[in-house]
Subunit: 193 residues, 2 copies
């Protein structure tokens, strides 16, 4: 680690989340985050490009977990089961962070800029999932449809997870929503083609 | 109309699309768009907030069409049929623009900023669709799930529509993808709960 503080990254994240919660995202400066963490601004910028990136620091890790879970799933699994395994893995990962996901969600909901960034990360997850399915030999449009629908389910399950009063774990909410969707999509009318 | 040019808006859009295609979005200025349309910059800014908004001018209209189609659908229809009617209506509307959707897509694909904006508009469509379903008495999470999955289908169908060599109409691609999705989502394994 040399002159680097041990766990500087973790301390900076903790300080940033606390300050965003107390003062608001817009009103918090990098200098204040560094001060709260007992570190310098220079150290902050070694770990994060800007104060926004603190909130999205886990996105790359999440995407890699999704992709590797899909790649490692048994060859016998149907695409949707593979997608479900990947989404379950990222759901469990997010769940391990305890209340962090809820804190983060409240901060993101406070800023249009952050909401936009979150949408981009979700679109990037969907594209990565579709790519990972294609590498397993799933053809388009099945790969894109499965991936986009999977991320749609993840989005709804995540909203339920961070909602006031929810007691259910994220992987369970993902499974429930995934299980409910086929029934919701069955048309009551014969398709007119 | 007073001193306003008749169809100034249409001429500005046409000029902007042509210039974005020829020179690129980043390289085109409002002054150039106005000049090409034979109008003043001031007239441009009466119709559009900035050069980006020319590309998203139809978004509000599209959303209103989706919401009104959902609101006006027969009470007997299942939520997915209602969503399908709404998506079919906006698909037909986009299809009426002829090659405009493909031109627009190529411009949007050239800029990260525009891609981000497009994602935001899609998220806004999904939220409007979920709201419209809730107003019909559909409860959550069914309303959100149906809406997010519907927009996921729309996204994939639209990508197929603008793809090189596609000959199929957008409403048909939406129906095909909507019809295919339930089968893709049926798990091959019993859910482990």
């Amino acid at each position: 680690m040399g002159r680097w503080q041990p766990d500087a990254r973790g301390r900076l994240m903790q300080a940033a989340f606390a300050l965003y919660g107390e003062r608001g995202f817009e009103q918090t400066t990098v200098a204040e985050i560094a001060e709260r963490a007992g570190l310098t601004e220079r150290t902050f910028f070694r770990h994060f490009a800007d104060k926004r990136e603190v909130l999205f620091a886990g996105a790359q890790e999440l995407q890699e977990l999704l992709v590797s879970t899909v790649a490692d799933a048994p060859a016998s699994l149907a695409p949707i089961d593979v997608a479900a395994a990947g989404l379950g893995a990222i759901g469990a990962f997010i769940g391990e962070g305890g209340d962090l996901a809820r804190q983060r969600q409240a901060i993101i909901a406070s800023s249009v800029e952050l909401q936009e960034r979150e949408l981009i990360k979700l679109a990037s997850l969907a594209a990565a999932l579709a790519d990972a399915l294609r590498r397993r030999g799933v053809e388009d449009p099945a790969a894109s449809l499965t991936a986009e629908a999977g991320i749609a389910v993840f989005k709804v399950a995540f909203e339920r997870y961070v909602a006031e009063g929810n007691q259910l774990e994220l992987p369970r909410l993902i499974r429930e929503s995934l299980g409910e969707l086929p029934r919701l999509l069955e048309p009551s009318l014969p398709a007119s083609r």
